[in-house]
């Protein structure tokens, strides 16, 4: 067993142990069961190609959130950054690509956390909606008893224990030295941004003009076009074109978009955003040629009549 497998093994063993000690809670059992399955699947497919056990563990924990929609607040980013910084300080050699990916994932989690916080902060509107038209004065039927203790006095007192202290509001005028100092800081900051932009450009993800990718895409389009032809004329639900799994659904969907752009098919959706997606061959049936699929016409996407 290699290092990676051992790491994932540790995570899985830990989850199995947790599962074993909470045997009286069905919900938790199911939840942990799901964690185990995901961890097993991830064993073969991690976003961060690192040999370092620590980095792989961190990446795996992050993936649970970023890819599997686990609660982002289950990750303590402060602890992570402390551990990671400590590791980087000790390390003689840091793989910047791996570090960059991990930082990116941490950023993604931070964003999910803030989205979550914003979502939860919406509560007052929900409350107000619930009680709309009702006189809520003294209406405490749904309120949990709250141990007020000594703080109850705060509710009724006119003289609060805290007062905004009055201090002088002081600001000093800016000088030329401040301006020059600021320029030097700004220059440093913009130099760092430039370096970062270069780095991002160098290690950016392969774009869609990539040759290998294009060939692969052309094969996909051709395969999907073949499936379309088997259906003959008339509207075809996208679901019927898919053979198996999520990956195939994506392949079919992307190919359909290209076929629409080529002007070969119409695509439309019955009830956006979740309704069934349909496709219908647009060109006369007798002149449909497979080789056309590889030639993408130079038509603006807005002008292609994709919605029937």
């Amino acid at each position: 067993m290699n290092t990676t497998e051992t790491d994932f093994g540790n995570v899985i063993n830990h989850l199995m142990y947790q599962k074993a000690i909470i045997d009286d809670n069905e919900d938790l059992q199911t939840k942990i069961g799901r964690y185990v399955r995901i961890a097993e699947e991830m064993q073969t497919d991690s976003l961060v190609p690192s040999d370092d056990p620590f980095e792989r563990c961190v990446a795996q924990a992050f993936e649970l959130v970023v890819q599997q929609q686990f609660n982002p607040w289950d990750i303590n980013l402060i602890e992570f950054s402390k551990m990671y910084l400590a590791k980087v300080r000790k390390a003689s050699d840091v793989n910047l690509i791996v570090a960059g990916k991990i930082v990116y994932m941490a950023w993604e989690i931070l964003r999910l956390q803030s989205d979550d916080a914003v979502r939860r902060a919406d509560r007052p509107e929900t409350c107000e909606l619930m009680f709309e038209g009702l006189d809520t004065e003294g209406f405490d039927l749904f309120v949990d008893p709250f141990e007020l203790g000594g703080g109850e006095a705060l509710l009724y007192t006119k003289e609060l224990p805290i007062k905004e202290k009055i201090r002088r509001h002081s600001e000093r005028p800016v000088t030329l030295i401040d301006l020059l100092d600021a320029f030097e800081e700004a220059k440093e900051e913009s130099d760092i941004r430039k370096e970062l932009a270069k780095f991002m450009h160098k290690y950016r993800r392969p774009d869609f003009d990539d040759k290998a990718h294009k060939e692969c895409l052309e094969d996909d389009i051709a395969a999907v076009w073949e499936r379309v032809q088997e259906f003959g004329s008339g509207p075809i639900p996208m679901a019927d074109l898919c053979i198996n799994g999520k990956k195939d659904r994506i392949t079919v969907f992307v190919s359909m978009l290209f076929l629409a752009k080529m002007g070969k098919v119409h695509i439309w959706q019955e009830k956006p955003p979740y309704g069934e997606i349909f496709l219908e061959v647009k060109v006369p049936w007798d002149i449909v040629q497979l080789e056309d699929a590889a030639t993408i016409q130079d038509v603006e996407i807005e002008k292609v009549p994709v919605i029937k």
Binding site: P124, L154, H169
Partner: protein, 171 residues
């Protein structure tokens, strides 16, 4: 120049609460001299009948108007926190960490606006918890209200102490 006077000038000019290190930078004096001079200054100001005091809040010091003279000063000063928001702030300080939903049970839905104001002023911090948001006070809370505390639990204890003192009994 006596070191007390240099620090007096610094505290007056800066307005906001500052640490011994800040004062070191401004005055060029060493930390030991600063600490001892600050003690003398605090004794001098706080025992006199003048309207200004030097307060210590955790590790920071500030020159400010004595509580009993805040009324004439308040009209000219740029105060930011309305009275009812202050009530919400004191409840957060006393019960922290406290769920926003609990606070709403106590004071009604107006607290959501108060919480937003307090957060914008940097006085409290929000953290998602269960299906609500947990609220705690910040370092700026300590400074704004001139509380001699270094941590959230010290703030909590301080408010408790003030309540006991005011009500003349243990709460």
């Amino acid at each position: 120049m006596k070191s007390e006077r240099a620090l007096e000038a610094a505290l007056f000019s800066v307005g906001k609460p500052v640490t011994v290190s800040d004062l070191k930078l401004a005055s060029g004096l060493d930390a030991r001299t600063i600490r001892s001079a600050l003690k003398n200054l605090m004794d001098e100001y706080n025992s006199s009948d003048c309207a200004i005091e030097i307060a210590k809040m955790g590790t920071r010091y500030a020159m400010q108007v004595k509580g009993e003279y805040s009324l004439p000063a308040a009209k000219l000063a740029d105060l930011k926190i309305p009275k009812d928001v202050l009530k919400t702030a004191s409840l957060i300080a006393y019960y922290q960490p406290v769920l926003q939903s609990k606070l709403s049970d106590l004071l009604g839905s107006k607290i959501y606006t108060h919480v937003r104001t307090l957060e914008e002023l940097g006085l409290i911090r929000k953290k998602p918890k269960k299906n609500s948001i947990e609220l705690t006070t910040t370092k700026k809370f300590i400074e704004t209200f001139g509380i001699d505390a270094r941590s959230r639990s010290e703030v909590k204890a301080w408010i408790g102490g003030e309540l006991t003192r005011k009500n003349g009994k243990k709460l």
